[in-house]
Subunit: 334 residues, 4 copies
């Protein structure tokens, strides 16, 4: 039998934070995540729409960055298929029993061929839904995790891996001006525009951002006003704006440790298997902002390192082999 592993979706990720109390205040009190469980060195958070234990872990660490990125699969047989699939290329692979990470069943931990710390699992503890607990909404009304953006040395090999070996569909992609080279790809398993964004950036393996759904445009703007009112405007990096790609109404924030997250709302449902990817030109200003504003330099120059599963240390990075930004953005940077 030739079955490929059945991934449901990008399910959660772990941010490393240097001050858990400060991070809790930011993510829960200010941004509006729901706290499911706290341990001595971690907080397990979810969104208002989540019925699972967590979509975000904040983990006490010496340095910021990404602890791991996790995908939920359909069942235990998918973990076995993944083991087989990754064995030749994985830098590290480990099965951990249920509850090694709170709320999760057994999991498969892999440092993949590009150095990303991934986790696969099929069982997640169920918790109460907060969707109609409107009296508790605050901040950005964070609903759920949507996607994670991975920085790669080049797009093609990872694109093939995710679409051919792991069954991801491609909703949209960006190509360089001469159309010869992919510069970004938006891949999905769940029926929205993405679960993963594969992109070029300052180095690899790094995570550019994780993106969470804000309840609506008013929710997103209210969150901005709350940040402003608290004097936390320094955490606002880019936006609000509308991406050309995926049509998302977006905002990018940094957390007190510098980790980057996106809040967004308003992409589209993608249900049909015969979808033709929408293709954008890297040099199209409206690709990145439909309203024409340039992204700030930090957007291109900074990203989050990822942890080594075995050592807990941040993985060394290498520069990409593809140009790191549109050429029109260099006009002010010479």
């Amino acid at each position: 039998m030739n079955r490929i592993p059945q991934i449901i979706r990008t399910a959660h990720l772990e941010y490393r934070v240097t001050n858990l109390a400060q991070a809790r205040e930011y993510y829960v009190d200010t941004l509006g995540f729901v706290e499911t469980e706290a341990t001595s060195d971690a907080l397990y958070l979810r969104g208002l729409e989540d019925r699972n234990h967590h979509c975000l872990i904040l983990r006490q660490a010496d340095t910021p960055g990404i602890g791991h990125v996790a995908f939920q699969v359909y069942g235990p047989e998918d973990l076995a298929l993944l083991e087989t699939l990754y064995r030749p290329s994985a830098q590290f692979m480990e099965r951990v029993p249920a509850n090694t990470e709170r709320g999760l069943g057994e999991a498969l931990r892999i440092q993949d061929q590009w150095g990303f710390p991934l986790e696969f699992f099929w069982k997640n503890a169920k918790v109460a839904w907060q969707l109609q607990r409107y009296q508790n909404y605050h901040g950005f009304d964070v609903m759920r995790l949507d996607h994670v953006s991975l920085l790669l040395p080049s797009i093609d090999p990872a694109y093939r891996w995710y679409t051919e070996q792991l069954g991801f569909g491609c909703s949209e992609m960006t190509v360089t001006a001469d159309k010869s080279t992919k510069w970004g790809a938006w891949l999905h398993r769940k029926q929205t525009s993405h679960d993963l964004a594969l992109q070029i950036g300052v180095g690899s393996p790094m995570v550019h951002h994780a993106s969470f759904i804000s309840g609506s445009v008013p929710s997103l703007l209210r969150g901005l006003d709350v940040l402003g009112a608290q004097g936390d405007h320094r955490f606002i990096e880019r936006g609000p704006g509308r991406h050309g790609t995926t049509n998302a109404f977006f905002l990018y924030l940094r957390d007190p440790d510098g980790n980057r997250l996106e809040l967004f709302t308003g992409d589209y449902l993608l249900t049909d298997p015969d979808w033709d990817p929408i293709v954008w030109n890297l040099e199209d200003e409206q690709r990145q902002t439909f309203w024409g504003a340039d992204a700030p330099d930090s957007w291109f120059n900074e990203a989050m390192g990822v942890a080594n599963w075995a050592t807990g240390q941040i993985v060394p990075t290498t520069a990409p082999t593809v140009q790191t930004r549109p050429t029109y953005l260099n006009r002010n940077n010479d």
Copy 2:
């Protein structure tokens, strides 16, 4: 000199409530008013946009209803002019020194010729603005008092009083189908569509509702969701909808004592003295709801009694001399 009293605007009103703690929970915790000061028998509340001490007083009383309706004037000379003006017709008139009502300077209290308990003052203690304290916004994001709706036996005499003696402008009015008789009039001193609505209802003197500005349409809808989430949907009487008159996006609530308030957003600025009133036909369904839905029976059959300044008792009411509702609404009530 022939100067008329210079009223700035409808400034506050007092709701009588039978359980102050319960009322506080409703108005402050749920609806989103800001508490300025509490005494043993009263709460002084304001909106997020208010820089004055209060726009709503909740007063402990044996029965619900309206304690009084207050207008701010420009200066002490206006109080004198009002005394002269009201002396022939007032049922009761009294000057009270500063701070008789918390936050207020000296005031003139009048039971007017229709039996309404009015208060005029010119000085109001200043308090901190909450407009950019977005982290405290909740419920309906109540901004400020907009207007009060007075039920009268007929419209014309009060219309003449307010426009000719007190300088109100008329933004819009409703007339009966044969155009012979005013059925409602929206009068303003401040530069919006109204400070007072003169209307026909179940009896007079009564107050149909007081209306407060909600920050925006999303604020108003969020408030509805909060009421629903708390199981407080029984307090929702009518709406949300759009009034034809004044173009307001509206919602009508009752409080735990049955007092009625409107939350609204979205009327217009009215700055020009040569404004021609917009005239609506009572039988035009879109007058009351631009989207065509009928108001519920309680809307026509119930209103709030007003207190006698001298005795604190609710003033007896008399039936109006004008039809109390559009004829098309009787089709289901025979």
Copy 3:
């Protein structure tokens, strides 16, 4: 092999209209559907988010009602599986070649065991996306078809059919007060709260409504204002409001022929196969409207008949075996 047919989603439906020009004006000019193609007796419409040929057909007919409801499947083998599955129970079954219905590949037409005219197909002509053609947005900014509500004599048999034979998941359900009987079920194939609502109503087989996604809450409210501005408020039957079930911000309209459609926004993504259905009590007022307002009588007393594939005539209906409305709604109807 024991494979079940793989349905992607509810893909389109056909409304019968008695005046195609009038219907075009309503659906395209007023509501905001996009016209893909017109023939002498039909209009093929889609939403702003659709990249397929149509999600709604308006078909000239002598009487209003529903021509058929269509589901897209993954491939031709699914049509074969459906033929096998339906053969014992179908009242009518026919294969039609590509382009019998404009834009579609070969299709399987079935009058199912409850009398509903269904259509299954796997290929749909691709057309240009309008999602970022914001200059053309108008009316309700209709995005796509979401679901169709089928009225049945009782829920259980159809519930088992759709979940066991056709692989639908159940997001939410309503049970009678004694919990003995299902009164409604929200079933999905795509990853949202529903593709089909199975409900009890005035008769069966009938369709209560088809539901289309409006771009956002402001889109939905703007559409209401446009209807009001055009004097088309008579088409507004119920809402706006928030359903308890599915959390939808909803509005129900009738078309000039009396066909009913819902416009809604704001349910949730449902990706996980281990979802436990949310269960509502029929007697819970907040089930139907989270804000507590009763649905109008017409809501329960009126629905759309469905056509017989063979004759084109409306199928005779029978009364349900389950109570047709919450008991608390009878208080005003004795």
Copy 4:
């Protein structure tokens, strides 16, 4: 008697445009202004909320810039008072008869002591209201003119002129870091946060921008999406954002000639004569953008020249005597 002229509000202004057809397309078709009247060399536009002939004139000219800024007063006696007031200082003064400018009664034209071309009038032709013609709303749903921003060599003299001689109130002001010098002042006659903004900029006399009310936040964002969809994103200069000053949700656009306009929504009502101005520090980042984003250089370096009433030529400008931007903005400009 010592009466001062009674100004109602800033009523309209005139933009000089080099291509009237192109300007019409931009302002009417794209932005959503309503066309009242066209002549061979001018277009008279109004907003959806306006019941007067125009709030914006587009005038064919060789060069862009501002033709004049106009204030409506209460009556003819105010024009006489203004003549007396301005006679000693005005660089030019002329009475013009009714209909010299379409829709206006007699007017007084003044080149004031700072070189600004002002117009005062008291009668404006009435035209149909579009507020409830929702089917015609498009673009930014432009409601009305709100204010005009005048660039001055220093703030104090003009501040005294407008507040002492012309009865303006001050809602908010900006002072330099050492608090010694006013850097900006928001002045109003109508009961909102401003009719005039007095500011420091690249030169004087110049107009930095005119500001028009957009119907709501969704209206403003929809307008942005329309600009993007049309490939007109190059006209978007700054925003969307929230100003600290006045709390406005703002957007700044340029027109095809480079003239600058603001679209905004969401300031506050200011009715009380005892209002204490809110004072901001020039170096407070949240003053200009509550969310912390810097204004672009063009914001400070570019503004619109104003016309000489007598010659029609743009008035030469002089540099300000006050620092032209916050010092923190120079960090990237050395």
